[in-house]
């Protein structure tokens, strides 16, 4: 099979994996090699679905002996099958990287043989890129559930990030849709990766020459809307994974129908639900919220109409108004419409000078939502609207093309280096 055809088949098989980040690693190529990672990552293009293309996302092979109902590559699906060779993948990655199409390689695979054999192939591609080609770009490898710790350890030496996809939030859902997969095996891989990352970090503090182990950490993916699991199950699991295994990211992927199966919903993907979960996940990771604050057994799903932070704010009138002149960063970040940057600017500006209402727009603050929740020297910034009347003002207008909301149609159940230094070195060649 010619390379173009393989690329078509094996990129189509990998496109349901959401992760495409190239952030979190500061790797440099060895002398004579090529490639450099920026900790912030770089997006090289955006596909027609609006998703970032940063890595060359491919399957090593789409042949799979598992029969997960939600997966396009499942054993029972009659699709063309293909596999890359290590040389083909290495050449393709380097060629695209030199043209600045990509930041590196994301490599996953169908489980075409024993998990150890599959993982060994993935590791060999990463080894070849790092050792034979001196590649210093980003490599994200999928940890094949059930493979041995020795191979995971080897994978972590070459990869910037590892990921084991848990896909479904409960054991019941997993046994219903992916009977060949074991939640325990996936969690065991995650635990091993998490512990190895922590060990490598700890060792590198004492011994500088300690080899890296997946410096960009690990991530996982949860499918949204393929099972009746509610948002509380998804967010609760995400929170527990962040805490227990120190995951860098949990990705949420709205389920896209890939065939007719009575166990699965039909209809368009629940994109708004996916969006709300990302917003809530952001609050967990960066804003100091806990899943229990956003959801509870009486309210197991995120609100469709307003974002999770606004929903929390409306439910907690006792917390507001937040006083701009003395509130902490944490308090400011709980105000709808204010993010970490805005909060930092407020704190920084009030250190430099007395805050005045007319100066707030100059700080670059978007006050559209925030003004209802803020006061300055004891005076509320907005007094014309009663608390009860705020809800309609905080609603998002969902884009017309992005339906349905919670996929309910298908379910009857519950739903660095300092910049100055970097630029200084450029003066030499700008003005030799």
């Amino acid at each position: 099979m010619e390379l173009g055809k393989k690329l078509e088949i094996l990129s189509a098989g990998a496109r349901y994996d959401v992760s495409c980040a190239s952030s979190g690693s500061d790797r440099r190529a060895p002398p004579g090699g090529m490639g450099r990672n920026l900790p912030a990552g770089v997006c090289h293009s955006f596909a027609g679905d609006g998703r970032c293309i940063s890595l060359l996302k491919l399957l090593f092979s789409n042949a799979c002996r598992y029969d997960c109902a939600y997966c396009m590559n499942r054993a029972s699906n009659d699709i063309p099958r293909a596999s890359f060779s290590t040389q083909e993948l290495t050449k393709l990655t380097l060629s695209f990287y030199r043209r600045n199409y990509i930041e590196g390689l994301f490599l996953s695979s169908g489980v075409f043989a024993d998990p150890d054999i599959v993982m060994e192939r993935l590791v060999e591609v990463a080894r070849s890129l790092r050792e034979d080609a001196g590649f210093g770009g980003y490599i994200h490898l999928k940890a094949i559930p059930g493979c041995g710790d020795r191979l995971l350890k080897k994978a972590g030496r070459y990869a910037d990030r590892l990921s084991a996809n848990i896909e479904l939030p409960t054991a019941a859902s997993l046994s219903k849709l992916a009977p060949d997969k074991s939640g325990k095996e996936i969690l065991s891989s995650m635990r091993f990766i998490g512990e190895s990352c922590a060990e490598a970090r700890e060792d590198s503090r004492r011994i500088a020459a300690t080899p890296d182990f997946a410096p960009a950490g690990q991530s996982t993916q949860l499918i949204v809307g393929a099972t009746p699991d509610d948002d509380m199950a998804l967010l609760g699991l995400a929170q527990s994974l962040y805490r227990r295994y120190r995951l860098r990211r949990v990705y949420y992927s709205a389920y896209l129908p890939v065939g007719l199966d009575a166990r699965l919903p039909t209809g368009p993907p629940p994109l708004l639900r996916e969006h709300r979960l990302y917003q809530a996940d952001w609050l967990l990771r960066f804003y100091g919220f806990k899943a229990e604050e956003l959801l509870n057994p009486a309210l197991p799903n995120l609100c469709e109409e307003i974002d999770p932070k606004s929903a929390w704010a409306l439910a907690h009138p006792e917390f507001f108004p937040v006083e701009l002149s003395r509130a902490s960063m944490e308090e400011l970040m709980r105000v709808p419409g204010l993010g970490a940057t805005s909060a930092r600017r407020i704190v920084s500006a009030r250190r430099a000078a007395k805050l005045k209402p007319e100066l707030l727009p100059r700080l670059g603050l978007v006050m559209k939502r925030a003004r209802y929740f803020l006061s300055l020297y004891g005076r509320a910034l907005e007094t014309s609207i009663a608390w009860e009347g705020l809800r309609p003002l905080l609603m998002d207008r969902p884009p017309a093309s992005r339906t349905p909301l919670l996929g309910k149609a298908a379910w009857s159940g519950p739903s660095g280096k300092p910049m100055a230094l970097a630029v200084q070195s450029q003066l030499e060649f700008v003005f030799p």
């Binding site: 920026l38 770089v42 695209f96």
Partner: protein
């Protein structure tokens, strides 16, 4: 001392000297005339501008004086120059404020000069970051990977370290088609102007034959990786503004 109108030739060296002068005088100019800004073509005497270039020693002293204020301030001066906006008086005003109050002044967005400066720095930083991703290189017959760019700001100097790190020992060049200059890598990971490289820039250096095949593979990948059930062209355009599309191979650009 009465604020006055200052003038300079628009080069980075001259801007550094101008800013350092303002800091040492303790005074921001009322306005600054710059030879390379369009309005100067109407009333300015362009011939007299191009002749001036401050000596290297003066530039070194100026850099030291600016770095003494703060490294963040120095970075802002460089980015302000790249923005090509009329920010010289603001730069001096912010520098003086910084000398008085320390780095706290760089957080005081209520100061109009800082607010304008910060907006320009943000724009330049954003443009640099976007072009780190959207620059497209093609292999030329001389073995060099070349990217032809049309940046909104003068960001080639800020882009260069990223691509030096990326290409390592491999030969590459980045060309600013808007401003008509380019930077090419030479040994030891440094860059020189394209003209110094071969005297005629990239004229006559055609893309390598294998290029077509690689472009076809990339376009095929770009097409396949999209989930059509999630199609969202508005989001695509928002994240990848239309003004970059002309240089993107995957969207049909034949420029490379």
């Amino acid at each position: 001392m009465k604020p006055e109108t200052w003038s300079y030739d628009g080069s980075l060296e001259s801007l550094l000297v101008l800013v350092a002068h303002g800091l040492s005088e303790g005074m921001a100019p009322a306005s600054v005339l710059c030879a390379i800004r369009p309005e100067m073509g109407l009333f300015g005497n362009e011939a007299s501008w191009s002749a001036y270039c401050p000596p290297k020693a003066a530039v070194d002293v100026a850099v030291d004086a600016i770095l003494e204020v703060s490294r963040r301030y120095y970075a802002a001066v460089l980015r302000a120059w790249m923005s090509e906006e009329a920010l010289e008086a603001d730069l001096v005003a912010v520098g003086l404020d910084c000398l008085r109050r320390g780095e706290t002044a760089l957080g005081d967005y209520s100061f109009p000069s800082l607010s304008r400066l910060a907006a320009a720095v943000r724009q330049v930083t954003k443009e640099t970051h976007l072009l780190e991703g959207f620059a497209r290189f093609s292999l030329r017959r001389d073995g060099r990977y070349v990217a032809l760019l049309e940046p909104q700001f003068n960001v080639l100097p800020a882009l260069a370290p990223f691509f030096l790190g990326r290409f390592g020992a491999e030969a590459f060049a980045i060309v600013d088609l808007v401003r008509g200059f380019g930077l090419a890598s030479v040994k030891k990971g440094s860059l020189i102007s394209l003209e110094s490289l071969n005297g005629e820039g990239l004229k006559g250096v055609m893309p390598e034959a294998e290029e077509e095949e690689e472009v076809a593979l990339w376009r095929s990948y770009f097409k396949t990786v999209e989930n059509v059930d999630r199609r969202n062209p508005d989001l695509q355009r928002r994240l990848m503004p239309l003004r970059y599309w002309g240089q993107l191979t995957e969207l049909g650009s034949s420029r490379q």
